[in-house]
Amino acid sequence: MAGTDTVQEIELIIEDIGGGGGGVRPPGGGDDGDSDDSGKRRNQRPASPKRYSTAIGLALVSVLMFFMALTSAFIVLRAKSDRWMPVHLPRILWINTIILLASSATLELARRRLSNADLPGFTKYWRATTVLGVLFLFGQLVAWRQLVVQGVYVASSQASSFFYIFTAAHGLHLLGGVAALAYVLLRKFETAKVSRSTAAEVTSYYWHFMDALWVFLLALLYIGK
């Protein structure tokens, strides 16, 4: 109705000048992160997508601390040990590293496509990233298999324990990353709380971090032999 539209227009203008947050909102504003659609959450400022970037940043700090605890344990035990039996790193680990680095590259290509509003291009590269991520995980399992065939199990020595716990912890985190990649690939973002670009951005931070972490862990295991 005309009257309502005018009122809404005026209120929107007032909103604009006030910079948001000051007065009564017209109903129908953005929801605030609660999908309970009984109308309970209608009159608020829209959910800031910034919260997701902040969250992933802080979460990555936590993950870093987790791996740093294990790393410090590794360094201490390695230095103290007089009978260190180094694990011969299977060759496939280097291939896996290349795969993971490639997946980071395709991830960035995908995001660039997205910012140019090229959705098919985005989907193509994002799918490639997901596939490469899954390939990496399979490659890790192959590496484990190769070690088991050689008779190196998780409890064989301290060195092998560290190898397995580092790769397992990293692999588990990466699995979560793959799940996030799949989510971004498959979700219909018209009905989602977050936009595709926000989700892609947050996932990319996580993925690149996991990539860098893997390079660090591999270097640690290699130098620590």
Binding site: N43, S48, V76, A155
Partner: protein
């Protein structure tokens, strides 16, 4: 009165003028008969409402504190009357393993489920969004997950107690791992909420000190719980998969008892204390924030040197991160490191002193109401001072082992962490009870409970310092001083009797709390304490979406009390300058 006039945030239930939004017109549970289309599970057990989650944590903490107090009672009774036969509980403290299990469970329940859950997850979840003007936590679903992880870890720990030693320990470690995950989720939620969801005008300098404390605590928690998670994962891997991350643990476990006593599992100690020392500050930081807030509100004074207080809180967080070695003086680590850790640990006295001086400075020349909440707050200051002073001795690496025994340490940390923190929780409870439930706790019962508990805890924990000191005394036999070690047993009996009385006195509180929650008269006062922060600008209990129709706007800091020339002795944060000048 600002809290009654203005935007219609009245003191009658649901009296604020917001547009009817169909289903959810009012706020609290008692009014929902005709409107709720969500069931019991969704409203009470799996609610995304941060207020419900906060209350859930408080109920969890209430249950845990009484369970853990019961265990401490069993321990004390066994210490002094080992042959006493208690019906149904005879086999719970009879053997050394059972006693050790009691002690471990008492400690884990208190530190994790009470001291970490109640002030941070409980009050924080309820009041952080309210105090910063947000309507919810940043990630409500993470909140639900974190709460149920915490509950599962409590069940696991309790179940561990009744299992065999081997299985029980595995279950306990797994429960602690789950608790770490829950705490990490909570920490992320709190941090992101404080960073991103503040209302318009709520700049960082205007944050209430309680919010600062929760925020700094969340950052600290994010750093340290990952460490414990890693350590527990490695320990579980050792126990279940046969790995050798902590070879000394496995090696020493197989040695005879006399050798075991000298065991020094260094790596585990490093990792554990890196977490655990910072964890005690995780327990204390929210309490510091709460007491600062309460003292200011009840004394009707701004926080004395508010920015310095916030800096001191940050310093506690940073320093707490750096002093893990103070628990490892005798562990055989590098001989120069005890000096470093000693210096760092002693320097924690600086932020602690700043806080104490601020509290005393706020109270200086003030006329404050001595209601139960304020009594507990002042009790906190007393206990923190008493307990903290003994910490100065413990920070000295040359004194600690040579001059004191475990009892000294037990007295110290119980006074600061156990009792002072509990007093802060109780002070906060008496303060925020009217907001959470729209009713008041009984003041007479509250005061009686306070005095009994205050006297009781001093009687329980102060003599422990003495016991700790005389344990190393070596008087010549036959001299007058020879009577000192034998006095130990009568002191122990005294402590046990005092424990019995103090634990019994807690029933006063339990009755007060439970009765008031369900049967006290609903007064629904929006701002009974005439406080300034945002949670007092809404009805009691707050509406489902916290602030009704309009998002709050903040115009000033949180401690504008007793401004010269003002009509009232307080100026709430949300009152605009026009309204304030109109009221003058």
């Amino acid at each position: 009165m600002y809290s009654v006039r203005g935007r219609g945030h009245g003191s009658a239930p649901g009296a604020y003028a917001g547009p009817k939004r169909g289903k959810f017109t009012h706020d609290h549970e008692s009014n929902s008969a005709e409107v709720s289309k969500t069931g019991f599970l969704a409203r009470y057990l799996f609610s995304k409402d941060h207020k419900v989650v906060g209350l859930q944590y408080l109920w969890l903490a209430l249950f845990s504190v009484f369970l853990a107090m019961g265990m401490s009672l069993l321990m004390r009774i066994h210490l002094v009357w080992p042959s006493a036969q208690i019906p149904f509980l005879a086999n719970l403290s009879g053997t050394p393993e059972r006693y050790a299990a009691l002690m471990m469970l008492h400690g884990s329940l208190m530190v994790f489920l009470v001291l970490t859950a109640a002030p941070q997850a409980g009050f924080g979840n309820y009041f952080l969004p309210l105090q910063i003007g947000a309507r919810e936590m940043a990630f409500p679903i993470l909140n639900i997950i974190a709460f149920w992880f915490t509950t599962t870890s409590l069940v696991g720990m309790a179940a561990a107690f009744f299992s065999s030693a081997e299985k029980g320990l595995n279950l306990w470690i797994a429960s602690v791992t789950l608790f770490c995950l829950a705490s990490l989720l909570n920490a992320i939620n709190f941090s992101v909420t404080t960073i991103d969801l503040r209302a318009k005008g709520m700049t960082l300098p205007r944050l209430p000190v309680t919010v600062w404390a929760w925020f700094i605590n969340a950052i600290l928690g994010m750093l340290i719980f990952s460490i414990l998670l890693a350590a527990c994962a490695a320990l579980l891997s050792d126990r279940l998969l046969g790995t050798g991350f902590f070879p000394e643990l496995g090696y020493w476990a197989g040695q005879p008892a006399a050798v075991r006593q000298l065991a020094l599992p260094i790596l585990w100690q490093r990792l554990f204390w890196f977490f655990a020392q910072a964890e005690v500050y995780v327990a204390m930081l929210p309490c510091f924030g709460l007491i600062t807030h309460l003292v200011s509100t009840f004394a009707r004074r701004p926080v004395w040197r508010e920015r310095l207080v916030v800096l001191a809180l940050c310093a506690v967080g940073v320093f707490g991160f750096c002093v893990w070695g103070q628990h490892m003086f005798a562990s055989g680590m590098n001989p120069y490191s005890p000096l470093v850790f000693s210096v760092l640990a002693s320097s924690l006295g600086l932020p602690a002193s700043i806080l104490l001086i601020s509290w005393l400075g706020t109270l200086w020349d003030a006329r404050f109401a001595l209601n139960t909440s304020m009594l507990f707050a002042i009790g906190f200051i007393s206990l923190f001072l008493s307990g903290g002073l003994s910490g100065i001795f413990l920070a000295r690496q040359d004194l600690a082992a040579a001059a004191t025994s475990d009892d000294f340490i037990t007295g110290h940390f119980h006074l600061v962490m156990g009792v002072a923190a509990t007093f802060a929780i109780l002070a906060a409870l008496f303060f925020w009870f009217p907001k959470m439930f729209g009713r008041r706790l009984n003041e007479s019962l509250g005061k009686a409970h306070f005095w009994l508990t205050f006297a009781g805890v001093y009687c329980v924990f102060m003599p422990m310092h003495w016991l700790g000191l005389i344990a190393h005394s070596r008087p010549a036999a036959g001299g007058a001083l020879a009577a000192i070690p034998t006095a130990g047993s009568s002191i122990r009996t005294f402590i046990t009797v005092a424990t019995l009385v103090t634990v019994a006195a807690q029933l006063l509180f339990l009755f007060n709390f439970l009765w008031s929650v369900f049967f006290a008269r609903e007064t629904n006062e929006a701002n009974p304490w005439r406080a300034t922060t945002l949670e007092w600008s809404v009805s009691s209990p707050p509406p489902d979406d916290d602030f009704g129709a309009a998002d709050p706007v903040v115009y000033r800091g949180a401690y504008e009390f007793s401004l010269p020339g003002a009509a009232e002795d307080f100026l709430p944060q949300h009152v605009s300058p026009e309204e304030a000048s109109r009221a003058r």
